[in-house]
Each structure stands twice: as structure tokens, then as C-alpha cells.
């Protein structure tokens, strides 16, 4: 009996993730999570860098050397983008928490802005880092 009543209701089903083309705000949302996790991992490096600075010039030089290596720079570039993205997406969420901008059209626009802005921020930071 409960089965028929469930069938009658014809509840909407979750999209099948392997064939469903996620809308931009959905991609944007899961990216927020991934960048957050990546940045959490990054706090390990931040702590290591600070502890190295506190322990003396030799350890600090080692840390700077590792971070300045090609793989180190690639990680830092990734973290810069993750930070820029998470910052902008976080601001979007804080605005959403006030009840503003929660329409399909607005979410579409602001999510595009978050993606675009994250790349602009990354570019600004890295141009500044090399120019200064």
C-alpha cells in the first residue's frame, strides 16, 4: 500500500550525476567544497612555513626553496586560485544567507562572476608577486 502511494506521488528524482549536465551554480557549489578541502590541506603547508620561520634561517631557507621549486610553485598557484575562488564563493554564500540574489538568473550570473573573478584574482596576485 505504501508502495502504490509512493508511486502515485511521482516524486521528482535526483538527477543521475553521470548523465546530467550540472547547471553552473551546481558546478560552482561543488567547486566551493573542493577548494575548501584543498585549502584545508594547504594549512599544513602554512603551519610548516611558520614553524620553519620560527626555528631559524636554515629551516626557513629549506621551506622557501621547496615552495620556490616548480612543484612548489604549481601548488602555490593552485592554492592561490582555490583561495580566490573560495573567497568569492564564500562572499556569494554570505550574501545568499541574507536572502538576497536567490533566483535562477541571479545565481547564474553571480556564479559566473565567481569563476571569472577567481581567475582575475589569481592573475593579479601572481603578477604582483613577480613584479614586486
Amino acid at each position: 500500500m505504501s508502495e502504490t502511494s509512493v508511486a502515485k506521488k511521482a516524486r521528482p528524482l535526483s538527477p543521475h550525476l553521470q548523465v546530467y549536465r550540472l547547471p553552473l551554480p551546481a558546478v560552482s557549489s561543488i567547486t566551493h567544497r573542493f577548494t575548501g578541502i584543498a585549502l584545508t590541506v594547504g594549512t599544513l603547508v602554512l603551519t610548516w612555513w611558520l614553524v620553519a620561520a620560527a626555528s631559524g634561517p636554515d629551516d626557513f631557507d629549506t621551506a622557501q626553496h621547496v615552495l620556490g621549486s616548480p612543484i612548489g610553485l604549481l601548488c602555490l598557484l593552485g592554492w592561490t586560485w582555490a583561495f580566490g575562488y573560495h573567497l568569492l564563493k564564500g562572499i556569494q554564500h554570505l550574501i545568499w544567507d541574507t536572502g538576497t540574489g536567490i533566483t535562477n538568473a541571479s545565481a547564474q550570473r553571480s556564479s559566473a562572476l565567481v569563476f571569472g573573478g577567481s581567475f582575475v584574482l589569481t592573475a593579479i596576485v601572481w603578477i604582483a608577486a613577480f613584479a614586486l
Binding site: 502511494s5 506521488k9 567544497r33 575548501g36 578541502i37 585549502l39 584545508t40 594549512t43 599544513l44 602554512l46 603551519t47 611558520l50 614553524v51 620561520a53 620560527a54 626555528s55 631559524g56 634561517p57 626557513f60 631557507d61 622557501q64 592561490t80 583561495f83 573567497l87 564564500g90 562572499i91 554564500h93 554570505l94 544567507d97 596576485v125 604582483a128 608577486a129 613577480f130 614586486l132
Partner: protein, 132 residues
């Protein structure tokens, strides 16, 4: 039959009564938001500072942390960052880890790691700030 469970005669309070209390969920949610708001200016300040220290020698980095304003802002940034990271990871676990014990272990280990890293990084900053 199904309509009895959501009939309009019951008050809002009547509908949620007996479904379990929210306990400190509200406080947790609010703290997560307030720390996030705090992190917007702090992390932007931190990023600008880090960019300026990109090619820093040990003495430059030490001199920067030695400045009382920088040390204080850095301490607040670190504590807020680890609070935010632990709260964010907890949300991820709550969404994706369905086993109660596994979820509890993941949250506990993450909180423990966050406290350890926060303590280590705060200690490093204080050690530099007090000139050891």
C-alpha cells in the same frame, strides 16, 4: 492518508515538537558565518602580505612577524582559519559519511588536527614576535 501528516491545522511548533532538539546547532551555524565574515578582510590582508614576502629572506620574514600589528592580525587569522577549516570539513563529513561512528571519528580527528596545527602555528608566531 498522506495528507494527514501535513495538514494545515497543526501549528508550526506542533509539527516540529518531538522530532529532536536543535541543541547548539544555531550557535554552531552562526559562529561558522561570523568567522567567515571575519576571514574576508583578514585573508585578503594575509595574501597581500605574503605576496610582498614572496622573495623574502629569513630576516625579512622575521621582521614582518615582529611588528606587533602583524603578529596580532596573524594570530587572529590563524585561529579563525583553523576554526573555519574544521567547521567546513565537518559539513563535508556530515554530508558524505553515512556511518555514525566513521563520521564521529572523522570529525574528531579533524578537530584534533586543527587544534594541533593552530597551536603549532600560534606558538611559531609568538616565538618570533617575542624575539627568540
Amino acid at each position: 492518508m498522506a495528507s494527514t501528516s501535513d495538514n494545515g491545522f497543526r501549528t508550526r511548533l506542533g509539527r516540529v515538537r518531538g522530532l529532536g532538539s536543535a541543541k547548539s546547532g544555531g550557535a554552531h551555524w552562526l559562529a561558522y558565518r561570523m568567522v567567515a565574515v571575519l576571514l574576508v578582510p583578514l585573508t585578503v590582508w594575509f595574501l597581500i602580505s605574503i605576496v610582498r614576502l614572496a622573495k623574502a629572506e629569513h630576516a625579512d620574514a622575521i621582521a614582518w612577524v615582529h611588528q606587533p600589528v602583524n603578529a596580532v592580525l596573524l594570530l587572529i587569522t590563524l585561529i579563525a582559519t583553523f576554526h573555519h577549516a574544521a567547521a567546513g570539513m565537518r559539513e563535508v563529513y556530515e554530508d558524505y559519511i553515512h556511518g555514525k561512528l566513521a563520521r564521529l571519528i572523522a570529525i574528531g580527528l579533524t578537530n584534533g588536527a586543527a587544534i594541533l596545527l593552530a597551536a603549532a602555528s600560534v606558538f611559531a608566531v609568538l616565538k618570533i614576535a617575542f624575539g627568540a
